[in-house]
Amino acid sequence: MGRHQAVARTYRRTHPVDWGRSVHRRRYMRRELTSVFLIAYALVLLFGLWRLSQGEAAFEAWRAAMSHPLAVLGHAVIFVAALYQTISWFQVMPRTLPDSQTKPATITRAGWAAAAVASVLVLVLFMVGGAK
């Protein structure tokens, strides 16, 4: 690529990428790692949907399995990861948006507020739906 010719004789240092080198890299890796838990939860829900398609007995068996202490523990871990993902992602959101006069902290707080409102709305909808 390009018209500039590389220097013929150079020494190339080869070393694996050090993802723990700085606080920013570690923060990035934690943020990205939590997305794996979100995928895991999506798969759990998809599996439940698949069991629902197999009839009431299959769905009830899935629900019973979900109330097993290990399943509850898994959900707790996923919840913490989802919370971390939400908080950390909105912290970096300002730099994904065009330049504006809005303070980055305001954008981050608006994101957190939107996530909180959406979460409460979904929770209320499920509670209302479940009560019927």
């Binding site: 590389a6 004789r9 990035y28 730099r95």
Partner: protein, 167 residues
């Protein structure tokens, strides 16, 4: 007492000798983003000064502060993994020209921006902006252009031209 200081050649570049690195790859990447004004119509000195308002200048001024020191390339883990990634400084300078009211060059630079080694090569680690001695914030330049690249993909590229008005 300050901690120990580690002195080494810039990471992610071939070493010529001691602390001297070969920056050829960067020069080619910089040239590839066409870091010069691409106006809509060719101008001559007879046209007089190409004026813009302070607000229009503010859109790109921070990104014009890059001194090509390459600290961001040494900090970027993606440069180490993907040598073809255009990298923070080149993409920040691409945004510097795209955001200039005197420039209509997005179509000419779009291929580079949309490529695998363009803005999408960035995974937003953000370390480039932390090490930048001139507060250029390449991470912001690149990541706001992911939205621009997506708009371009959906055929909405004309929205990307900087406005010629006051804003």
């Amino acid at each position: 007492m300050p901690g120990p200081v580690r002195i080494e050649a810039l990471d992610n570049f071939p070493v010529i000798r001691d602390l001297v690195i070969d920056q050829t790859s960067f020069l080619n990447k910089l040239e590839a983003v066409k870091p010069w004004l691409i106006p809509k119509a060719k101008r001559t000195p007879a046209d007089g000064p190409n004026r813009q308002t302070p607000q229009q200048m503010q859109k790109y001024h921070a990104y014009a502060q890059c001194i090509n020191c390459l600290l961001c390339y040494a900090a970027c883990p993606q440069i180490g993994l993907k040598p073809d990634f255009a990298g923070p400084a080149a993409l920040a300078l691409m945004h510097r020209y795209n955001a200039d009211s005197r420039d209509q060059g997005w179509p000419a630079r779009a291929e580079m921006a949309n490529a695998e080694g363009g803005v999408w090569g960035c995974t937003y680690v953000g370390e480039c902006s932390e090490v930048c001695p001139k507060a250029v914030d390449p991470a912001h330049a690149i990541n706001q252009n992911k939205a621009n690249s997506a708009l371009d993909y959906f055929g909405l590229g004309k929205l990307l031209a900087p406005s010629e008005g006051g804003q």
